[in-house]
């Protein structure tokens, strides 16, 4: 028995050799494409990752020689219409659709196919375009900042392309200057290290539909929170409905930057939903209203 107790610790130490090692950098193909309902097919950017210790620029990472097509799928998942892409002259890594007439269709699924003349990678991804967002109420022309009367937006009922709609609200400033900033954002710029340019389009982050009051007819009434308003005076307020790919990419990027319950230093990869590479093949639909946020 005495020997057993001596042997066991040794056995444990021997068998405990840790085979979980740090792996090496691996170059990956990166795709970036956003399909917006009601608009024409977008440009698609193809690049590679760069080692983290190298200076990053898209030009250094851009890839030529890609064969790209975007395919509109029918309801059975078969190819309905194929759209070819060509490399944009003078901009390595940027590819432009040959068709300028096709308009992205809400509630339809598109597939991206990429291969290369000069490397073996093959990438595919699919996205289902969210139903067209429509703001149906007459938004007030002028809203007094931080008054009891918040900007109200009524969204028409939509068909869901995922369990629930995911929204992002974007406030696009009309008059950009430090003097025109609302107090909180002014202090971010003046006392903090935020660039004024970062606030021109002030976005809400991803918000689940269930956060809002859903009317019996499926329409959604929301009061626009004051935190979304970075500048006084003229602003465009954009309501975006976001697909699953883009939702998962952005949420996982927030996690990677430390905004979750993971321990500091525990860094996961983003969720990409692309086979054979990384990046985003995502889609949104959106609608915009204009209003004037008046100083109180």
């Amino acid at each position: 028995m005495n020997r057993l107790f001596l042997i066991l610790p040794l056995l444990l130490l021997v068998t405990a050799c840790d085979i979980y090692n740090q792996d090496e950098y691996e170059e990956l193909v990166v795709v970036e494409a956003y399909l917006i309902a009601g608009r024409s097919l977008p440009d698609i950017k193809i690049s590679t990752t760069l080692p983290v210790e190298r200076e990053y620029s898209f030009e250094n990472a851009a890839l030529s020689g890609a064969n790209i097509q975007v395919v509109l799928l029918d309801e059975n998942g078969n190819d309905e219409e194929v759209f070819g892409y060509l490399s944009l002259t003078g901009r390595k890594g940027v590819y432009r659709p040959q068709s300028t007439t096709h308009t992205i269709l809400p509630r339809r699924t598109y597939r991206l196919d990429i291969d290369f003349n000069n490397r073996p990678d093959v990438l595919t991804a699919v996205t289902t375009i969210p139903d067209q967002v429509q703001i149906t109420n007459a938004v007030r022309d002028t809203v007094i900042y931080q008054s009891d009367e918040q900007l109200e937006i009524l969204l028409a009922p939509t068909q869901k392309s995922q369990t629930q709609n995911i929204f992002v609200f974007d406030t696009i400033a009309g008059k950009v200057s430090v003097d025109n900033l609302t107090p909180f954002y002014r202090s971010l710029v003046v006392d903090g290290d935020t660039d004024l340019s970062d606030l021109i389009r002030n976005s809400s982050g991803l918000i689940n539909e269930a956060n809002f009051n859903i009317n019996p007819d499926g329409s959604i009434l929301l009061k626009y929170p004051w935190i979304g308003v970075a500048f006084f005076e003229d602003n465009q307020v954009v309501t975006n409905s976001v697909d699953r790919n883009l939702t998962q990419l952005i949420r996982s990027q927030d996690v990677q930057l430390g905004g979750s319950t993971l321990s500091p230093g525990e860094i996961p990869n983003l969720v990409y939903n692309i086979e054979g590479g990384i990046g985003i093949f995502g889609s949104i639909s959106s609608d915009t209203v204009q209003t004037f946020f008046k100083r109180p």
């Binding site: 898209f58 909180f184 976005s203």
Partner: protein, 755 residues
């Protein structure tokens, strides 16, 4: 189900009812400190001539039965106390009630202080460790003496960082340790957002940690149990103490009354003057910051056989500060517990304990940014009833059985811009029952078997948990031990290592089954030389159906409850060595742990190109292969003493970013979005952690009113800049890495007066 429970308990009690010879005698009573009257837990007591002994239970009660009539020497020992010896004569059938008072060492210095292996046998049971309140106050500690910080020095227990008092025991996360204060569950036992624990060392009598393989008496957590017992109060005279520190000050008073004793201890932060000064020159200083805790206990001796007690604890942390313009944060969190207990000596063979407990935890962060409020409200109410029986049918068996039943209510509500965005309330009854037999077939063998049954109404779960431990005494100086147990856990803690102020507990439910795991422990407890103890423990444990909040869910609105979680598994194994010097002017211990722990969750730590997202095992941040603590104290003179703690640990795991890319066209917002690509999660290691803390104490008098003590401390004496984590700055190109460091050198001073 109720019938099953009744049968279960009846079976246990049935085992206990055995006829015994009427001509045998017995002796029983409480073992107490002669100076204060405090009961002493796990003190040893024996009749020397017939080599029959036992140890006092969690109430300080002992009982030796089935003794042949005759005259014997009764001996009682306890660490830090003089040996007690008394001749007793037992008549046939006599049941002698003998309360034993042990004299603390240092009161009569000419007496020999007995501290031997026998004194510590109970404390050195498998998987078990005990921390003395003296050690808690003696070892250097950051700003405040702290129970958890002291426990973290033991092998098998790790700290996540200098800023976290969370207990990571044998590869388990903090929620895998059941924390009890006077047998009442405490859900967030931290002050100062996790920096130190809520347990006031002035109020604490005894701290015991079951690191693993814990007995059937306890349940509800996968890993370990930390049980803190507050003082009952001085039964002989009214005494008190006042202690002034840099962060907080403490006061306590205790004393007797005609039918028992009482104790009251308060502690409050005393940072306000410092904050007021800082506010003149520094931005973003809190306009409100305080914490306090109050511990109280009242004991009522209803009769010779009946003791009642009422204990309570209340603690709150509050902080509020404005930041930038038009923005503020306010956070209140805390715990309240109350317990009342009736301990009854039913007969010389049967001891009972009935306990009613209540525990509340609340956590209420509120932000207001640019006129938009965010509010969260998380509350737990846990009301329970416990009944425990200890039965001694003969000298070979010690049976115990009990039930623990209660109602647990969790409320979790989020509000954004004055609108409720998430509202979840779970109320569940729970019931557990256990039976346990400690069988000593010979002097050399001790076999403890137990079975625990746990039910949780939410989700309708019923689980059985077998437990077993075996001890074999090879010789007077070596004991070999082995233990196995299955453990279930119905709760999970959502926490952030950096900040415990936002801790949230969630429970099992439909679609969220309880976590479970098996533990295997082997141990050898030896006394290589007189006055020294040397222990080895090996452990292996599994963790299955681990459920924790999915870190990729940033918005819970509209999700089903089971969609909030990710479900995974894990394992941990390790070797612990513990060398302790128990006697002399130089005392202390060396604890070493070799430990491995791993986790796996679907989709997490998957290869970046693996679209099936098969998760792989990875080490959590707190995985530390080697961990060494050296604790030493030395009595320089009658007035001066010194203590030192040196800690060394393998650097914590972190994820090394390997590649990067950029998303420039996200159709909202203004900025570029950067992303890293990583390989294996947490496959790299931070530099090793090491730190030396020193403490010097000088005893004296305070104007002849009482004893006083100055304590001077230097934390991180050589100012090692240990790294907490790396921060990556994307504003620089290429990305720049900077160190976020842990505590620098910190001197502190405190002054304590005992009156």
């Amino acid at each position: 189900m109720n019938l099953r429970i009744i049968l279960f308990i009846a079976f246990g009690l049935g085992l206990a009812i055995q006829a015994t010879a009427q001509d045998r005698a017995s002796i029983n009573g409480y073992i107490t400190d002669s100076r204060t009257g405090e009961t002493l837990l796990s003190a040893n007591i024996a009749l020397i001539e017939i080599n029959r002994g036992t140890s006092s239970n969690n109430s300080g009660y002992y009982s030796i039965t089935n003794i042949p009539p005759g005259t014997y020497t009764l001996m009682a020992t306890f660490i830090g106390y003089q040996r007690f010896e008394k001749e007793v004569t037992l008549e046939p059938g006599q049941n002698l009630r003998l309360n034993v008072e042990l004299i603390p060492s240092g009161i009569e210095l000419e007496e020999l202080i007995v501290e031997s292996e026998a004194d510590r046998e109970e404390q050195r049971n498998i998987g078990r460790a005990q921390i003395s309140t003296q050690l808690i106050k003696e070892v250097p500690s950051v700003l405040e003496p702290d129970v958890f910080r002291s426990v973290q020095l033991l092998p098998g227990v790790k700290a996540a960082s200098d800023f976290s008092s969370g207990l990571y025991v044998r590869g388990g996360s903090p929620d895998q340790t059941l924390i009890l204060l006077d047998e009442t569950t405490v859900y967030n036992p931290t002050h100062f957002f996790g920096f130190f624990s809520t347990f006031n060392p002035d109020a604490v009598k005894d701290v015991r940690l079951y690191k693993g393989g814990y007995p059937a008496e306890y349940g509800g957590r996968l890993g370990s149990v930390l049980s803190v017992f507050n003082k009952d109060g001085n039964r002989n005279e009214t005494r008190g103490s006042v202690s002034l520190g840099l962060l907080a000050s403490r006061a306590s008073i205790e004393g007797p009354y005609s039918r028992g004793s009482w104790m009251l201890a308060v502690r409050r932060s005393t940072l306000e003057p410092v904050l007021a000064v800082l506010r003149q020159n520094v931005d973003n200083v809190p306009d409100l910051f305080y914490f306090y805790d109050i511990n109280g206990k009242l004991n009522f001796d209803a009769s010779e056989n009946d003791r009642l007690s009422l204990a309570f604890y209340s603690g709150t942390d509050a902080v509020s500060f404005p930041f930038l313009e038009d923005a503020s944060i306010r956070l209140d969190y805390g715990n309240q517990t109350v317990s009342t207990q009736w301990r009854r000596i039913i007969s010389e063979k049967l001891y009972s304990k009935l306990t009613v407990t209540g525990s509340r935890y609340f956590n209420e962060p509120r932000f207001s940014i640019a006129g938009t409020p965010f509010e969260r409200n998380n509350e737990i109410f846990d009301f329970s009833f416990k009944g425990d029986l200890e039965y001694l049918p003969n000298e070979n068996h010690s049976l115990s059985a009990g039930i623990w039943s209660g109602i647990l209510t969790l409320r979790f509500q989020d509000r954004f811009d004055n609108q409720t965005t998430f509202n979840n309330r779970i109320q569940s009854t729970y019931l557990s029952a256990y039976i346990q037999d400690e069988w000593r077939p010979t002097d050399r063998w001790k076999i403890t078997t137990g079975l625990r049954m746990s039910t949780f109404a939410e989700g309708d779960y019923l689980r059985l948990e077998p437990r077993m431990s075996v001890e074999h005494r090879l010789g007077p100086d070596i004991r070999l031990q082995a233990a196995y147990g299955r453990y279930y856990q119905f709760l999970t803690l959502i926490t952030n290592e950096a900040f415990s102020g936002f801790d949230i507990w969630l429970t099992t439910d439909d679609g969220v089954p309880p976590s479970y795991g098996d533990q295997f422990v082997l141990a050898a407890k030896t006394t290589p030389f007189e006055g020294y103890g040397f222990d080895i423990e090996l452990y292996y444990r599994t963790m299955r159906d681990l459920f924790e909040l999915d870190p990729f869910i940033s918005d819970a609105s509209g999700l089903d409850y089971d969609e909030l979680f990710r479900f995974g598994e894990g394992f941990a194994y390790g070797l612990e060595l513990f060398l302790e010097k128990q006697t002399g002017r130089l005392g202390g211990f060396i604890g070493y742990t070799y430990g491995i722990t791993r986790r796996k969750f679907p989709g997490f730590n998957a290869d970046v190109l693996d679209n099936t997202r098969q998760g792989r095992f990875y080490p959590p941040k707190y995985d530390r292969t080697h961990d060494l603590n050296i604790v030493a104290s030395y009595q320089l003179s009658t007035r001066w003493s010194t203590a030192a703690v040196f800690s060394y640990a393998t650097g914590q795991a972190y994820t090394e970013p390997l590649g990067r890319t950029q998303f420039a066209g996200v159709p909202w917002g203004s900025g570029m979005r950067n992303a890293f690509t990583v390989g294996n999660v947490n496959a790299s290691r931070l530099p090793s952690y090491h730190r030396l803390d020193l403490s010097f104490s000088r005893k004296g008098r305070f104007f002849n009113l009482g004893d006083a003590e100055w304590q001077f401390q230097i934390i991180n004496a050589y100012s090692r800049r240990n790294i907490w984590f790396y921060n990556y700055d994307f504003d620089e190109n290429p990305v720049e890495r900077s160190d976020v460091t842990l505590l620098p050198i910190i001197p502190s001073v405190s002054y304590t007066v005992n009156f």
